[in-house]
């Protein structure tokens, strides 16, 4: 599990192989009597060059954790680092730039702009930044994903699986610090889902990227290097080198706890 918060010197950029880190991360909704804690002093570390899955029952806070780690949502207390940058003190404009330059996103659905071709969608973050993409890298990504002959297609002309692959390619194209995938296979049939997972795996293994994936599918989680289990806003367990059965068993224990 993560380093205890009290051992850290606040404000100092942590070194070492972490792509992202959270310390005492708390996210509360509402205030006073009716306050609900979506995240309750979470400490987490995302290792660089690894594939981390976040699992947990619905309402456990796994999506919130991802949103906070990615700078999409503001936090109530605690600190978050992406690479060497502490992000909770950043303003809106700096956060936007951080997302653009350091983070890649793959959402469950509606990942692409319908008016742009697949190729344009892939280079969109760099185009927005006004940077020239690293063409060699982009070509590698496109070829790895087998999208070469789909570049001129509009999203509407692509299957759901192809669309998610394009989304993965876009997330990778700017070579971000890390990639967040929010239920990337949630809307896909099993074969397409498998393709996307295989690609995320290859992105880590072959392209040395860092991926964080939120999922509720044990099969998908099993493709990760490490699974973090969340329940009631806290990280309650972690499982290195998971298998689908082991993850499923672990998840069933949550259900049992709930029943009792």
């Amino acid at each position: 599990m993560s380093t205890p918060a009290q051992e850290q010197v606040f404000g100092r950029a942590p070194s070492g192989p972490t792509a992202a880190r959270a310390e005492g991360l708390t996210k509360a909704y509402g205030s006073g009597e009716t306050q609900v804690l979506a995240l309750d002093s979470v400490d987490a570390e995302i290792a660089r060059g690894r594939f981390t899955a976040i699992m947990g029952p619905s309402g456990s806070g796994k999506s919130t954790l991802m949103h906070c780690l990615a700078g999409l949502d503001n936090v109530t207390r605690g600190q978050v680092w992406i690479g060497e940058h502490e992000i909770t003190s950043l303003n809106e404009r700096e956060l936007t730039r951080l997302r653009r330059d350091k983070v890649g996103f793959v959402f469950q659905s509606f990942n692409l702009l319908p008016t742009l071709t697949a190729g344009e969608n892939i280079t969109l973050p760099m185009d927005i930044a006004g940077r020239k993409p690293d063409q060699e890298w982009v070509d590698t990504v496109i070829d790895t994903l087998g999208l070469r002959d789909r570049l001129r297609h509009r999203p509407a002309q692509l299957s759901g699986g192809q669309q998610q692959r394009v989304a993965c390619a876009r997330a990778l194209a700017s070579r971000p610090e890390l990639i967040f995938a929010d239920e990337p296979t949630g809307n896909l049939d099993s074969r397409s889902g498998e393709e996307v997972l295989a690609f995320l795996r290859r992105a880590v293994d072959e392209l040395h990227q860092t991926v964080v994936m939120v999922t509720h599918d044990p099969g998908a989680a099993a493709r990760a290097d490490l699974v973090l289990f969340l329940a009631d806003g806290r990280i309650v367990d972690e499982m290195p080198n998971p298998t689908a059965e082991a993850v499923l068993d672990r998840m069933k224990r949550f259900d049992r706890i709930r029943e009792t």
């Binding site: 730039r97 997302r99 959402f107 927005i128 930044a129 876009r170």
Partner: protein
């Protein structure tokens, strides 16, 4: 079902707001115009009937009193008639009236005291009467020669105080008058300036005839009806007088004003109509988008058993609600607009009181009819589309517009546009102005419809071209904007069409206006031979002293006078009313008239007349034939045609199609007509600028006339056309405002539709500023597209209209490039302004909420 409809209406009230605003603006314009014109005519009716005497005895005229403003002559009757009238049974009192409108009053520094807007300065004799529109509120009544009382409004406006001495420039001569009293209007001030003198002064100085009067006002004794009194007076005084009861007098006055008010009313309603037309596009677009967004919801309704008709009707009921709300608010805003209009004409001197606002029943009827009908008609197509929603739609992806083929639209649009273009071409090449105008009208309507239909088709190529540089200049943001504008060509087309209508009218009218100005410039160069013209700003004649001053100015050579009198010209049993112009024999040096036959010398010789070719052809007349010209009831003369001007030469400079006679001929028939124009040349060997300065100095005490050289004359014409165009632009501004609302509406709804996309873009790193720029660029593209369509259409209209004008002699075609450039730049500004709120709204969206948006 009704409950579902109501719920839906209120759920979308934000989105309805802009449509309601469009209805509101259109209705407000209609209602405001009606309230304003009703108020104006009621006020004047009241003014006329309260200030008319029970019975008025006036001189019998061949032409109505209005014609006197051309000649400056005043018809009179003997003042002794009052004494005779007073003896008639049933007459309580008879007053001598002296009222003239041909004077100019200036202060010590020669600045005009009366209105310069065209409203008259009335000089009257003072006597105490219940009918008087004023009462003396300070000082005293005028009691002798050289004393006057001025109305309070004018005194206030021109800072005239009791004790000031004014100079009154009247037809018989100029005389000084000391202000001894101020009179305040007890009725509505119709905008005129009033000056009162005692009766002998008025007779001597204003009419130049002691013992004369312009009318006799008769008060009836108690119990005597006006009509009976009129009969008695007629019997006693004999023929030769026009005797009118109070009712008749007021009615005549109201009729004269009424025709002017009608023109004003219909012009304003015309602009209201354009605003309504533009509003239609906005409402149509709103409902189309609402229906498209609610496809799933409507599909669900159909799936649970709602019939097509029910779905259809639910949309129409929403439209009805919108129409009712918009009309009600519009009616209220109409009052505001009427007040504003009243304030505006208050600036021109007419002081109306807000408490006198007239609200007649046709006003709300018209307001609700316009508002509700327009909304229902606009919503009809979207409602029908809603009715066609299949239950399957409930399962389909939301917000996907039906990609219906544009083939039928292409065909219809192409045919209508082609027909319109053909009509315009026919108008431009047609021979006769009357038919051509009809073709022009048809062409304008057809091309407008055609372009509206074709708008969505043209959106693709035009937006591609206009936004072509966007990706290069603005990068990814530019590319997305350009593509977004093309996403729904129908919507882009309809949004741009709204803007197109207003701008097409601006374009067309500007082409016509500048072409007219250009033609008149040319005509001035070709026609106006005189170095200087001396004229009154609103065409009123001026006293003979002005001409004398011009003649006696050193350096002035030839002086040519022109006068204008109303007359009837009779030939072959047909009689028509015309304005006859009388000119000095040296006319050739002043105006270089052209003749089909004859010459100036032959046309202006005693007993001769110049007529227009069109008139001569119509009546089958030629040189040497004679016509009978009736100058007044008592004076008619046979004149021989000595020259004929070319037919259909509708000049703006010179004597136009009016018959022209020699000055001698006029003097013999109607003496005492005032000069309307004096043309003068600098004597050979003198410095023209020098002479001009001398002329201006000589005429300094006559501020009612201006000295102009040829360049001034051109400026004057340009200025008049620009004022007219400015007025039209101002009124078209309303249509453009509604069109801008349409752009705002479209963008706002697009932003809502694309919430998830915006969320995604923000998540992957689009900054707020970039997002705002993206929406602004899309807006600019739509606005520029509308401006391009509008200007193209307007130029086509303008050129066709100019060809018709060319038939009437306006041969110059001038394309107003500065205006076109201004409109293009303006459309970019419009785009930027329209995008303000939608862009702000989009940039404030919460990223996570936007991504999760359904």
């Amino acid at each position: 079902m009704l409950k579902a409809t109501l719920r839906s209406f209120f759920a979308h009230k934000g989105r309805m707001a802009l449509s309601a605003l469009a209805v509101l603006l259109s209705v407000a314009f209609v209602a405001g115009t009606l309230i304003f014109s009703d108020t104006l005519s009621r006020t004047f009716d009241h003014l006329f009937s309260s200030t008319s005497a029970d019975v008025t005895v006036g001189p019998r005229r061949e032409f109505d009193a209005n014609d006197e403003r051309y000649s400056g002559t005043v018809a009179t009757l003997p003042a002794s008639l009052a004494a005779r009238a007073a003896k008639v049974d049933g007459v309580a009192a008879a007053h001598v009236d002296v009222a003239v409108g041909n004077t100019t009053v200036v202060d010590r520094r020669n600045r005009p005291v009366g209105p310069t807007t065209g409203a008259p300065t009335l000089a009257l004799n003072w006597y105490r009467s219940d009918r008087s529109p004023v009462e003396i509120t300070s000082g005293r009544a005028p009691g002798g020669p050289g004393e006057t009382v001025i109305d309070a409004d004018t005194a206030h406006r021109r800072h005239v105080r009791i004790g000031d001495t004014l100079r009154v420039v009247a037809a018989p001569g100029t005389f000084p008058a000391k202000v001894v009293g101020i009179a305040t209007f007890t009725t509505t001030n119709p905008g005129a300036a009033l000056l009162f003198f005692d009766t002998p002064t008025a007779q001597a100085r204003l009419l130049g005839r002691t013992g004369a009067a312009t009318a006799i006002s008769v008060d009836a004794a108690p119990g005597v009806g006006n009509t009976r009194l009129k009969q008695r007076l007629a019997a006693d005084l004999g023929p030769g007088y026009e005797i009118r009861t109070q009712g008749e007098q007021a009615k005549t006055a109201a009729e004269q004003l009424g025709s002017f008010l009608d023109v004003l009313k219909y012009a304003l309603l015309g602009f209201a109509g354009i605003a309504v037309l533009v509003g239609v596009f906005l409402i149509l677009n709103t409902f189309s988008m609402l229906v498209a967004q609610r496809t799933r919801e409507l599909g669900l309704l159909r799936a649970v058993g709602a019939s097509r008709r029910q779905v259809n009707r639910s949309v129409l009921v929403e439209a009805l609600l919108l129409g009712l709300v918009g009309s009600t608010l519009g009616l209220a805003a109409g009052f505001g607009l009427a007040l504003l209009l009243m304030r505006l004409i208050g600036k021109a001197g007419v002081s109306l009181k807000a408490s006198e606002l007239v609200f007649n029943w046709p006003t709300p009827v018209a307001a609700y009819t316009v508002g509700v009908l327009v909304t229902m008609v606009s919503a009809y197509l979207p409602a029908r589309r809603a009715g066609r929603t299949t239950p399957m739609a409930a399962l389909a992806e939301a917000g996907v517009p039906p990609s219906k083929s544009l083939r039928l639209r292409t065909a219809v649009g192409a045919v209508v546009t082609a027909a319109g273009a053909a009509a315009l071409a026919a108008a431009a090449t047609g021979g006769r102005a009357g038919d051509a105008a009809l073709m022009l009208g048809a062409g304008v309507v057809l091309t407008l419809i055609g372009m509206v239909v074709l708008g969505p088709l043209l959106a693709r190529p035009v937006v591609r071209t206009v936004g072509g540089a966007f990706p290069a200049v603005f990068g990814a943001v530019g590319r997305i904007s350009q593509r977004n504008a093309l996403r729904n060509p129908r919507r882009t087309g309809a949004t741009a069409a709204a803007l197109m209508i207003g701008l097409a009218l601006v374009g067309g009218l500007t082409v016509v206006g500048t072409s007219m100005a250009g033609s008149i410039d040319q005509e001035i160069d070709q026609t106006l031979g005189a170095d200087y013209t001396v004229q009154n700003g609103v065409g009123r004649p001026f006293p003979p002293q002005v001409t004398e001053r011009v003649r006696s100015t050193p350096g002035v050579g030839t002086v040519i006078r022109e006068r204008v009198v109303p007359a009837r010209i009779e030939a072959g049993g047909h009689s028509e009313k015309v304005l006859v112009i009388a000119a000095d024999p040296e006319l050739d040096q002043g105006l270089r008239p052209k003749y089909r036959a004859g010459s100036t010398a032959r046309g202006l010789a005693p007993g001769r007349i110049v007529v227009n070719g069109e008139y001569a052809d119509k009546r089958g007349l030629g040189i040497g034939d004679s016509v009978s010209v009736r100058f007044s009831r008592t004076r008619s003369q046979k004149l021989t045609i000595g020259a004929i001007t070319p037919s259909q030469k509708n000049q703006a400079v010179g004597n136009g199609t009016n018959p022209v006679i020699g000055m001698d001929t006029l003097e013999r028939n109607v003496p005492g007509v005032l000069d309307a124009v004096v043309m003068a040349d600098a004597a050979p060997g003198t410095d023209k600028a020098h002479v001009r300065t001398a002329l201006e100095k000589a005429l300094a005490s006559f501020p009612q006339v201006q000295v102009r050289d040829q360049a001034d004359y051109k400026d004057l014409v340009r200025g008049q056309i620009n004022v007219l165009l400015g007025l039209v632009y101002g009124l078209l501004g309303l249509a453009i405002v509604i069109a801008v609302l349409g752009v705002v509406n479209t963008l706002a709804l697009s932003v809502i539709e694309r919430t998830r996309e915006i969320g995604l873009l923000r998540a992957i790193g689009l900054s707020r500023r970039q997002l705002r720029r993206m929406i602004r660029l899309e807006s600019v593209v739509i606005a520029v597209f509308g401006a391009l369509l509008g200007l193209a259409l307007g130029l086509g209209w303008g050129v066709a209209a100019q060809r018709i004008l060319a038939l009437k002699g306006m041969k110059v075609l001038e394309i107003p490039w500065p205006t076109i450039l201004t409109v293009m730049v303006g459309s970019v500004v419009i785009g930027l302004v329209a995008a303000l709120l939608p862009a702000l709204r989009a940039s404030r969206m919460n990223v996570l909420a936007a991504i999760a948006h359904e």
